[in-house]
């Protein structure tokens, strides 16, 4: 087990290094001058040059990268070019709101997805299955920002029962979560349905049925319970991916979180912030994936030797 852990963790470190290098290269390839972005268009050339020198932008790229990583290992994510704030602080301020939003988005996916999954599995190959599956598929086929805007307009303005965007407590979360839930639920529906169908074919389910257990009892006690494992696994990975996709939801609903921070930073060529947020999101994804793998390995020893 330890050997497996070490292998997985060192793999994760390699992945993060790779991400840092690629992001760094990419950010520097953007054809805009960060120094010019900081001082504005009217500043004399000498001011631009002075700022450029201060930021170390004149140094060769590998040297800049090494400086960056060196500071990173000392816990310093640098300072935002645009807002003059420590990047670590900017990220810390937004981790909470983004995690809060992501959590409810995920919950909404489960709340919508799992009952539909059970329903379609129980009615597999009936008209009802096809209709519900099709509806779930319509959900995945919706662009999240399109649905979000329409919902915002109707439930925030025409029938003003919910806030018109913005970040905050539970009432601010409802619309984004529903939007995300609708556009993501079908993944869970699909997964749970297949998983349940598989379990339904297992001997112990047939046995339970043969012993005269009620259909409801069989479904809930035997099938759903056992079929949920892949769903939980997928859920773990999904939370990681949710972080990478959160930018669209945040942009639609005006949520001041990590996604918006990264997005604004890309628009403004705010290199330290781009690096910080991309790395953080990547770490999140890698950690969640690692966690799922390790739990899996703990449950099923065969995986360790794969």
């Amino acid at each position: 087990m330890y050997a497996y852990l070490i292998r997985r963790i060192s793999g994760a470190v390699v992945v993060l290094l790779g991400i840092s290098i690629i992001t760094f290269l990419l950010v520097y390839a953007v054809p805009a001058d960060p120094a010019r972005m900081i001082v504005g268009p009217k500043a004399p050339a000498a001011v631009v040059a002075a700022v450029r020198a201060q930021l170390g932008l004149n140094l060769p790229l590998p040297v800049q990268y090494i400086h960056y990583m060196d500071r990173l290992f000392h816990g310093d994510l640098g300072t935002s070019y645009i807002y003059s704030l420590p990047v670590a602080k900017m990220i810390l301020q937004r981790i909470g709101p983004t995690a809060w939003l992501a959590l409810w988005c995920w919950v909404a996916e489960l709340v919508i997805g799992i009952p539909l999954g059970i329903y379609t599995a129980r009615h597999a190959r009936h008209k009802r299955d096809y209709i519900v599956s099709a509806v779930a598929l319509v959900g995945i086929s919706l662009p999240v920002f399109w649905l979000g805007l329409v919902l915002l307009y109707w439930f925030g303005f025409e029938i003003p029962i919910l806030p018109l965007g913005g970040s905050g407590g539970i009432q601010y979360v409802i619309l984004p979560a529903i939007t995300y839930g609708i556009t993501g639920a079908a993944y869970y529906t699909r997964l749970l349905k297949s998983s349940m169908l598989e379990v339904m074919g297992q001997d112990y389910v047939r046995t339970a049925r043969a012993k005269g257990a009620s259909e409801r009892r069989v479904t809930w006690r035997h099938v759903v319970r056992n079929a949920l494992l892949p769903v939980v696994t997928f859920g773990g990975i999904d939370i990681g991916y949710l972080l990478t996709g959160v930018v669209l939801i945040e942009a639609t609903f005006n949520w001041n979180g990590l996604g918006m921070l990264a997005y604004t930073a890309i628009q403004n060529d705010d290199v330290p912030v781009i690096m910080g947020t991309v790395m953080l999101i990547a770490v999140g994804v890698v950690l969640f994936t690692l966690l799922v793998d390790i739990i899996y390995a703990a449950i099923d020893p065969r995986i360790r030797y794969e």
């Binding site: 001058d33 001082v39 268009p41 009217k42 500043a43 001011v47 700022v51 301020q93 005006n254 001041n256």
Partner: protein, 563 residues
């Protein structure tokens, strides 16, 4: 003087690149309209109460030496005091921290007498040195102030800027309330440059304590009408609190400001922000929405509803939207081609794509600025005429047109305008490729003088023709500001002469000559002068759209019933 961002509209999703500072409008402008139910209401101001505002963008800078975008200036100008300022919604300069001043007959020496007893929020006194400290900060290249170029005309400023001197020799404070500024050359608009927040009173002791970075990001210490402490700043919200001992008073003797608290929500989606206003949650739509007040995306719906339209006021700003035609590269090198394009652009149709928010432009200078030419000569005037355009193209040896790249920023509304230009030029055989990108990437091309054609907007920092013509057309500004690489020896001579003349009559004449020549040479296709539309709730009073600068928050008061 600054680029006004494209269509000056920030699309809902792309609301992030900067809307640069400056602003303005001229009160004398004929289209200046103030709605009767708007804020022209009179009556004695009632102090007290709180308001909430939406900001479409986060505050980038709190340091007055660095802040140079409208969102930052909207806050910074409430935190700090300048020497002089603009009177109401006019372009008259009136005293602020300086209660009076004298200018020597040669126009080189300015002597300001400051008010007594001005204090920073922490109790430190505001003195002439507080301004000298700020000059030194702005002129220190390491600080990265975008405003340093305005003040290098001060004696010794260039040497200080180049680090050849440790102080600025042209600045002195014979006593704590007297500030003397000596210039190297006379400059008619020097006072104008002092209205900008760049030159605010700052507490150097405080800055030394917290450091420049923090002073820009979280730690303000001013003497202005509102106070801001670091705990008032979160990623979502900024809270301004009344400075209880602010020294300025209104004509009734009330101390400014009237409001106790201003809560600013950072909310990047301007469509949603407009809906917040319609729901009555926020007090006004003004410079807090950037570019043109009520955003393009919401404007038609807003104005179609009498309930909301009645709350608006609007002015034509001192800013211009234009298509630049590169004079040194591609087919537009040929003046005939540039003139053909002038004739091929149907400006009213393009303005219609902007919901009519503007006044058709025929020259770079907006009508609100002295030097504007009332009657342009015929050979500098272009009216939409497809046949003439085609003839000119034939003469220029492009009978079948050509292909050209149009560079611009990529905001949603800007793309609509680009496409309007594209379809109009297609009618004379010119195929336009739209090269729209993020603001930074776009400027990187444009300011290198490498865009064959671009769409830009320019907005005043202060209402002087120099801010437009000298900056944008003098060959010494190639390529950053004069990014169409325009070079005409006569124009240069006129502009340089006008720059240092103290005779306004003569300046107007010189600028008129330059304008005629620039338009004859068809360097720009000026499209429109922007219209700024603000909206205020019926219970909000004292608000006006300033001719220069950002919203007059310190003058706003609200109905007792709303407190």
């Amino acid at each position: 003087m600054d680029w006004k961002k494209g269509a000056a509209v920030v699309a809902s999703a792309a609301a992030f690149s900067l809307v640069l500072a400056g602003c303005g409008a001229n009160s004398a402008s004929p289209t200046n309209s103030q709605n009767s139910t708007g804020t022209a209401s009179t009556g004695k101001p009632v102090p007290g109460g709180n308001v909430t505002l939406d900001f479409i963008q986060n505050i980038r800078d709190l340091d007055p030496a660095i802040a140079y975008d409208t969102q930052s200036d909207e806050v910074v100008s409430q935190l700090y005091d300048q020497l002089v300022t603009w009177q109401g919604n006019t372009d008259n300069i009136v005293p602020m921290a300086a209660k009076d001043w004298t200018i020597s007959p040669d126009g080189l020496t300015y002597t300001f007498h400051l008010h007594q007893n001005m204090k920073f929020w922490n109790g430190d006194p505001v003195t002439a040195q507080s301004f000298i400290d700020e000059f030194q900060r702005v002129l220190n290249p390491n600080l990265g102030s975008g405003g340093s170029g305005f003040y290098t005309i001060i004696q010794g400023a260039q040497a200080y800027f180049n680090k050849k001197a440790s102080t600025i020799s042209g600045l002195s404070a014979p006593d704590p309330t007297t500030l003397v500024i000596k210039l190297t050359k006379p400059e008619k608009f020097f006072l104008d440059t002092l209205t900008m927040p760049f030159i605010s009173a700052v507490d150097q002791k405080f800055i030394d304590k917290v450091g420049n970075k923090a002073f820009d990001a979280t730690q303000a210490m001013g003497s202005g009408p509102f106070e801001l402490t670091s705990s008032d700043i979160t990623p979502n919200q900024i809270t301004l609190t009344k400075n209880p001992s602010y020294w300025r008073t209104d004509k009734y003797g009330n101390h400014l400001p009237y409001l106790n608290k201003v809560t600013i929500n950072i909310s990047n989606n301007d469509q949603l922000d407009t809906l917040h206003f319609e729901q009555g949650q926020t007090a006004w739509i003004g410079w807090n929405f950037g570019g043109d007040g009520i955003p393009a995306s919401s404007y038609p719906q807003f104005m179609a509803n009498p309930k909301y339209a009645g709350l608006t006021q609007s002015i034509i700003m001192n800013s211009v939207q234009y298509i630049g035609l590169n004079t040194t590269m591609g087919p537009t090198k040929n003046p005939l081609v540039r003139q053909a394009i002038e004739y091929a652009i149907n400006k009213p149709d393009i303005l219609r794509l902007n919901n009519g928010r503007g006044q058709i432009a025929n020259q770079p200078l907006p009508p609100g600025i002295q030097g504007y030419v009332q009657n342009l000569p015929a050979d500098a005037t272009y009216n939409y005429d497809l046949q003439k355009a085609k003839d000119l193209l034939k003469q220029a040896n492009y009978p079948n047109g050509f292909t050209i790249d149009l560079y611009s920023s990529n905001d949603g509304a800007q793309l609509t305008l680009d496409q309007g230009v594209q379809s109009q030029l297609a009618k004379v055989g010119i195929k336009v490729n739209i090269k729209a990108s993020s603001w930074g990437t776009f400027l990187n091309v444009a300011e290198a003088g490498k865009a064959p054609m671009d769409w830009l907007g320019w907005i005043q920092d202060f209402p002087d023709a120099s801010d437009f013509l000298n900056t944008l057309f003098n060959s010494n500004q190639i390529p950053v500001n004069n990014n169409m690489n325009y070079k005409n020896a006569n124009v240069d001579t006129w502009l340089n002469q006008a720059e240092y003349s103290m005779d306004q009559q003569q300046r107007n004449q010189l600028y008129g000559q330059a304008t005629d020549q620039i338009m004859k040479d068809a360097v720009w296709v000026p499209i429109w002068y922007d219209k700024f539309t603000a909206a205020t709730q019926s219970w909000v009073h004292g608000f006006y759209i300033p001719a220069v600068g950002t919203d007059p928050i310190e003058w706003v008061w609200i109905d007792k019933s709303h407190q």
